[in-house]
């Protein structure tokens, strides 16, 4: 059901508009409104808060289709889930009741704010601070490269509440777009995923009510880690959807393109490229599905599976899209064909939501832990 609906949205709404959105760098408001009307913003939100209570596996199925359509549009959709996860994972009952229903209907989009100029892979470099002043937290600092910034109404933001405590001195907050002292920086110009909005969040004596603290003070990093464990298969599957789109284009073209009197798919050099693309793609899809199902079983150790699938599927997407451009040759390099955009879009998947180098660190550290126990 979710797959059919998401496929229909990808085929009827996203694919016909993706080239124009890439060119104009416009936020896909109409498409996301249609996604909201189709109830898809609520799939992962528990039923008691107006959603469908589906798990990671179902979000993955929807994102696979959206990713096949356009990773830019899919990122705008997925970023709302990423923004909502901290509330779902660590928020109080009141906080969940206040924010989740609006996110579930798509009436308000959410965004997640971790990265700063000096805090990317190394989250301990966070400079943004939050100080309690009476009944209000006062936030100061700047978040960088925040997906959905300016479009979302609800932001989950990490800030340092007690620097002396190190990693236990960070806390997460909900900031609303109308809060005083909160503003946005300029819209970034990107290589790919141009339909998604990427901007700075600027906090200048931004005052928010005391109860906007997510969970307890000092639990910010734990919430961030749990959020990312849950969200990474979503990014991984964008790689699978994108890889599928690139393979579809490459095979279709190779069947039509005639050189030396034959369709180029009859040449073994091309066939082997296509075969490798398909093999890698299927392996990645299987790994992401397995990781999503593993996460839905709520195990203690989700990090390794989550990181593994993110690395494998997004590296695959990069390789497969590069090869798709190669199969299409000169045509592939032209903007008249969709594969050059796919190649540009693929690159971000290896970078955001934790670089693939950091993911390998996670896998390595988890292996070290596992083998120490035994």
């Amino acid at each position: 059901m979710i797959v059919d609906l998401s496929r229909q949205i990808a085929d009827e709404l996203i694919i016909p508009q993706r080239a124009a959105l890439d060119e104009s760098e416009e936020f896909p408001k109409d498409i996301l409104d249609a996604v909201a009307k189709a109830d898809l913003f609520g799939i992962y939100i528990p039923e008691e808060y107006g959603g469908f209570g589906a798990g990671t596996f179902e979000i993955v199925l929807a994102l696979e289709q959206f990713g096949r359509g356009c990773v830019g549009v899919a990122t705008a959709f997925a970023a709302s889930a990423l923004g909502a996860f901290p509330i779902m994972i660590s928020g109080s009952e009141d906080m969940k009741r206040k924010y989740l229903p609006e996110i579930a209907t798509g009436a308000k989009k959410a965004a997640f704010a971790l990265t700063e100029a000096n805090a990317g892979s190394d989250a301990s470099g966070i400079q943004t601070t939050a100080v309690l002043d009476g009944d209000e937290w006062v936030l100061n600092g700047t978040k960088q490269w925040i997906t959905n910034a300016g479009e979302a109404k609800i932001y989950t933001v990490i800030a340092i509440t007690d620097r002396s405590k190190g990693p236990r001195g960070a806390s997460m907050f909900v900031v609303e777009d109308t809060d005083p002292g909160f503003s946005y920086g300029v819209k970034e110009k990107k290589l790919g995923i141009r339909a998604s909005s990427t901007r700075e969040l600027i906090f200048k004596d931004c005052r928010i009510p005391k109860d906007r603290l997510i969970g307890r003070e000092g639990t910010g990093f734990i919430t961030v880690m749990k959020t990312l464990d849950k969200s990474r298969p979503g990014i991984a599957i964008l790689g699978v959807g994108l890889g599928q789109a690139a393979l579809d284009e490459a095979v279709t073209y190779a069947k039509q393109r005639v050189q030396f009197g034959k369709p180029i798919i009859s040449f073994q050099a091309v066939q082997h490229m296509l075969a490798d693309m398909a093999i890698q793609l299927e392996a990645a899809r299987a790994l992401v599905y397995a990781a999503a199902k593993h996460i839905d079983a709520h195990p203690k150790d989700m990090s390794k599976a989550s990181s593994m699938c993110k690395v494998f599927a997004t590296d695959m997407a990069m390789k497969v899209t590069v090869d798709a451009v190669q199969v299409l040759g000169g045509y592939g390099y032209m903007r008249d064909y969709p594969v050059e955009k796919m190649m540009r879009d693929a690159k971000i998947l290896q970078i955001y939501e934790g670089t693939n180098q950091i993911q390998r660190n996670v896998v390595g550290q988890e292996l070290n832990k596992e083998y120490t126990k035994a």
């Binding site: 059901m1 979710i2 059919d4 949205i9 249609a34 009307k37 109830d39 609520g42 799939i43 469908f52």
Partner: protein, 259 residues
């Protein structure tokens, strides 16, 4: 307001093939869809319901597989679905179809408003909507492009014409057929799809609708298809050359010869 939307299952026009032996439409293995005009009728009904309250019932006559388009209609906002299905209906032309549909509508208690697509993309007759209204003895407006005013007793609608539009005031109950300009049909929703999956579709047979069997199906259809053929495209053409005067003279001569 009780609104009935008549929908038809048609072969997807993207995928139409002719059987080379019989020259008839080959329906086997061809994807079936809701007739595109009917999607607009359904959308308009759902919008009226959302704005003014009421119930939307989708109705189709067809084989059991036609239940599929009823479920699709429910996933897009219809509340109830009725399938009129019986072997006796097979081979119906537009006259027999309107009889069957009118009997079914009587059976389900009539409606304040009946909406149909302008025509179906397979038969292209545009007869069922008006025919149904005449059978039911209610007013109808074809090619409606906008429902401009709504009240309990009357509707004001715009009828699309070649050179503009007519504004028509109609007393209820009434039947409208709609054109594509009227709205942009929505996609299904997840809630709608879940409802559609669980939905029990009411199925009515010839007996259920108290039909006179002489008026059903092939028996009740005065239209007989004698032969279906794909027209041969002839490549014959003649270029007329010379000065304008010479060309006109030659053309006139040829045309006179053909007359």
């Amino acid at each position: 307001m009780k609104i009935i939307v008549c929908v038809k299952q048609v072969p997807d026009a993207k995928d139409v093939r002719l059987d080379p032996k019989t020259n008839t439409l080959s329906r086997e293995g061809v994807q079936s869809i809701i007739n595109p005009y009917d999607r607009h009728a359904l959308e308009e009904a759902v919008r009226l319901k959302e704005k003014h309250g009421g119930t939307v019932i989708v109705l189709t006559m067809g084989p059991p597989q036609a239940a599929e388009i009823l479920r699709e209609s429910v996933s897009c906002g219809a509340d109830e679905a009725v399938l009129v299905s019986d072997r006796a209906f097979a081979g119906a032309d537009t006259l027999a179809t309107t009889y069957t549909l009118s009997q079914a509508i009587k059976k389900i208690g009539g409606a304040d408003l009946i909406l149909c697509g302008k025509q179906a993309i397979d038969g292209d007759t545009a007869q069922v909507g008006p025919g149904l209204a005449v059978r039911m003895d209610i007013p109808y407006v074809t090619c409606v492009r906008k429902i401009a005013q709504v009240s309990d007793q009357t509707f004001v609608v715009e009828r699309l014409m070649d050179d503009g539009y007519d504004e028509v005031e109609v007393a209820l109950p009434a039947l409208f057929t709609v054109v594509k300009e009227i709205n942009e049909p929505r996609l299904p929703s997840l809630k709608g799809k879940m409802k559609a999956k669980k939905l029990a579709i009411t199925t009515l047979t010839a007996v259920d609708i108290d039909a006179d069997t002489a008026q059903l199906g092939l028996k009740g259809s005065p239209t007989w298809v004698v032969r279906v053929f794909a027209p041969q495209l002839k490549g014959d053409r003649t270029m007329i050359e010379g000065t304008v005067q010479e060309q006109v003279d030659q053309l006139a001569e040829k045309l006179l010869k053909w007359c």
